[in-house]
Symmetry: C3
Subunit: 273 residues, 3 copies
């Protein structure tokens, strides 16, 4: 099943419109190509509706939102949804400023994205309207562990039900749910948190998986999350003692580039609840 | 001849002003250094004329154009031309939105750049005022092949004659022409299309070659195109089974860094028509 | 002493607010993580005061300043100083345009940053209100050599005394001074000038060292400068004949990632005057 999700991306080469931050935008473009999709970045209000019309899905990432890109996010998002395109929201740093929390809430309300991916602190900030996000990283107090897993699943399921979106909360244990069925995913490696952009790259790639598998958004999202975690493991195995986080970033994208459907199926560690 | 073009860049270390997109800007800066030039990025209207005055050429790339940078492109472009600096236009995504097509046409009209580099779909969009660009990549239907080569050369030559610019259309086969003489270049490797920014990097590097060889813009542009294609071949040869597009990007810039004039002369595959 | 500076960064994992250019922002984020800190980038006026409040230090880099980010730099800078956070200014390209020189002078005047890091031409432009910066690189005529060292130290000390900041002038020989005591540092390698962003990365990392060592800003800055220079040496040693500046960039960040306090103490080459 995961295999099919991946192979459809390579088969259909979806074009993904990204309104994203300038920190990790290059990595997002390269990982989209690596997974088989094609990226375009555009955040100018005068063209975003036209651009998103020729694309297959939209990835909205608020990592460096500003007064000019927020209207573009809303306009592109509404246009994409009106065309029945999948729209993914990555609420980077929700909880770290009122502007971020409120912008993410406004996008949820006005655009009704079909998928949301964030860390647990960001999703809590959106669910509760407040938060203790440590900048753009999850607060340690929020970490999903085996002890807090049941409670976390319940929380994420209710957020998914409330928003109507597939919600992916990623961290040491990943939770992907549509409010009914839930994937609990245990792929990944701590090195993924030692680079900037692993979350942003996953969001961009998830948009590609959604575009290529429009009828099965839960499975598409779960496949993208497993793929990123698995490639994080594989990239870490390639590291020598001299290597650090910069080489890890290159290897991570390389592993996504080389990942086959069979390797994903074999390496994915998940349970469906 | 190509050798001299390359060596002049290393000898004269031209300073290149870039108004470019935020997706591939870091790669553009590093490849400019790699080829022997020095980059500066500035897109603020209040300083672009002053910045371009101290530079030796200007590279305008509309990849993430917006309402604030478009006036900067026009102002810097006019100032640079008034100083007889070479100006290169990379019309990224022309054909994908009216804003992109119209902005590129306006720059052609008001700035009169001395060089234009794009893929075949972008150049068709500018020549015909419409297009079927697939986002920022060329449409498959437009691909230059041996079967369509004669026709494509004729088309690009007439666009060069009309604009007064050296025009480089890059793809599987590259066409570089000033409207009279035409280089048909067969360097390169499909991996160049599996990273973001190979076109942007080539445009930035071409601006450096033009700045260092101001009297021979056709040969300078052809040399830059051959250099990028050849280094793509060399970078691909270094890849192991584990490597993917991220490592390829690093190797590509590394190869430009290490490329000698003799190696360029020996490896270039072109015919002059 | 340097060892303690480095280890405090890893121990305290300071959160660093960056208002920085879009050219090297990804490298700045990754090197902040590599050295043990956590990055957040935000340049929107509506949130920068709130963002800087939850951070431990602010890094202001004017490399691609514009009319929207300049007010954000001033507002965030004043807020950070009012909270007694360290603020570092990197006056990229001061001397290359009036806008850059004047903005940097205005930040010095209104924010009163606790640290300034630049090349010798940039600092001269600020001290003298004019300059001959070659774009974003130092003018060769300004280079600090053994012959000009005494004179340069005197100049940098008087700039430090006048601004009240710890000033780091980096180049072939680095000078770090608070106006009284001066570190003369001889770590580094010319390869550091063959990539974009080595200065920007050092500025970001210095902000992290300042945040983790708030009571000893001179030593913290000197430690960051030594760390960057030493890691430049180590990265260069790893290069093979095929490698160039792109691989060097990765190795540089990797070396920062792996650098221990003991290795810094052993490899640092400095004298205290």
């Amino acid at each position: 099943m995961l295999k099919e999700m991946l192979e459809n991306v390579r088969l259909r080469t979806p074009l993904i419109h990204n309104i994203t931050n300038y920190v990790t935008v290059n990595d997002c473009a390269n990982i989209l190509i690596a997974c088989g999709a094609s990226p375009i970045m555009s955040d100018e209000l005068a063209e975003v509706e036209e651009i998103t019309t020729i694309c297959n899905a939209l990835n909205i990432n608020i990592g460096t939102l500003n007064s000019h890109t927020i209207p573009s996010m809303l306009a592109a998002g509404k246009k994409a949804r009106s065309l029945s395109h999948h729209v993914l929201l990555d609420p980077v740093g929700a909880g770290a400023s009122k502007l971020r929390t409120n912008t993410a809430l406004r996008i949820l309300d006005e655009v009704k994205p079909s998928a949301v991916r964030g860390n647990i602190s960001e999703i809590k900030a959106l669910a509760m309207g407040e938060g203790s996000t440590k900048g753009v990283d999850a607060d340690v107090a929020d970490t999903v562990t085996d002890d807090t897993l049941e409670q976390s699943i319940g929380f994420v399921k209710s957020f998914a039900a409330k928003t109507g979106a597939v919600v992916a909360v990623t961290g040491a244990i990943d939770i992907v749910t549509d409010g009914n069925r839930t994937f609990v995913i245990r792929n990944g490696h701590p090195m993924l948190s030692r680079i900037t952009g692993s979350g942003c790259m996953l969001s961009a790639m998830t948009a590609a998986y959604l575009a290529a598998n429009p009828e099965t958004p839960l499975e598409a999202t779960a496949a993208a999350v497993c793929a990123m975690g698995l490639c994080g493991e594989k990239a870490q195995e390639r590291l020598t003692d001299c290597d650090g986080n910069s080489t890890f970033r290159d290897y991570l994208i390389d592993e996504i580039y080389n990942l086959s459907g069979d390797a994903l199926e074999a390496g994915a560690k998940y349970e469906l609840r």
